[in-house]
Amino acid sequence: MSQHETNAPPKGAPVVDFDLSSQRGMEESNAAWAKLRSSSPIAWSNDNGGAWIVSSYDMVSEAFRNWEAFRSGRNVRTIPGPGGSPDLMPINAIPVQTTALMIPEELDPPLLQNYRRVFADLLSPRKVEAQLQPRIKYWVTKYLDDVIETGRCDIVETLTGAVPGAVVLEWLGFPECDWHRMSNAFHNMASYIPGSPNAQHLMDELEWTFQRIEEEVTAARGSPRDDVISHLANTEIEGTRIPYQFATGLLNLAVSGGVDTTTSVASAAFVHMHRHPEDRQRLIDEPGLMDRAIEEFLRLYPPARTHGRTVVEDTEFGGFLLRKNDRLIISEVSACHDEAAFANADKFVIDRFPNRHVAFGVGPHRCLGSHVARAMFKEMLMQVLERIPDYRIVEDELEEYPNWSMLGGWSRAPITFTPGTRRL
């Protein structure tokens, strides 16, 4: 069962012209969301195949929590779900063509909880602090060491892109020679300019990454090693080893969710502090504000800006009848910027509290990597402010991702600074 034969607007729905796929930059995207949110917190758009668009904080939170009505699964035999073609990934706001499964993100309860336990256990706050924090500190120190004597670098390439790649791929157990290529596959895809000639190369690199994951999972299921890849590949649920396709799905998600997301918010924070020196100075003077500032960076610059769901049965929501198989576009970024939930929502309020942002989502799909993401983000912020506190962005060379519909971020952000000394 696929989407409706026609994408005629549902009866009574406010119809808007909202082409998510055309959002070219952060300012443009934020402005489009603000306009939509103030007119209709839920509306129908015929763009991109037709979908309901949910944009207020309250309705976004409610939609994310209502897994019984709004499903994440795709329509394949192994994952019962309403999501249409088995080749389309329905958790994306605009479903992308891929056969690579993302587990557990593409699962619905009750299967979801069984698979979430696997990552919840590995990435609990306690384990992140005990096992990952020392490696995070090491890699931030090392990558800053690599450039600190030169006075110049691209902070995306050197730090915000490199650190999550090293931390996550080392933790999983991928050999070091793979790290750069694997994390670049995702970063370069996000930086892809539609119509540019390197599209095929980027697809090939992504394909290579998923192939490397398959090779590692196959090897680890044959003869398990003492690493996280092997642990994931041989996961047992209720006494039975999980299917191969689900094992690769766990790795697909760990890699793709791990490598370019923290990059996005950390880069945004460094750009922000360049443009708002008063915020940078306050963080230098009062490092105790760091944890609150981190939440505010996440709220103002959420990496994952939207997600998608599929309506499983006719459902009343927000005063409208959502039809079986209708698509929902749910906007984290719009919720995070909603004035009704956050006073002065478009301002960076360094000590904002409470700050119940939804940068990591809410409900049963809350990002399981959130604790390691915060730890990486914090270490990068602290070391940059300690070691190269006077850095300046070279504005002429700053490049945004060309599309902010699903993932926002910076392709490159060259900086200059007073050279410092190595620590290792």
Partner: protein, 64 residues
Amino acid sequence: MKVIVHAEKCQGHARCLAEGPDVYVLDELGYNSTSIDNVPAHLQEQARRGALACPELAITIVEE
């Protein structure tokens, strides 16, 4: 003061722990299912902040 944790709403954000490290206890997977009957006076501010920080609104404070 009582802290009531609605465990069925908890999704493991761990914001309660960040705001109230001396009040809130998470299980080995990082979820909170531990209500507290009697919060000592010097920890009540932590308890209140932890409840306010929860994005799932899973914590209720009962002031007595």
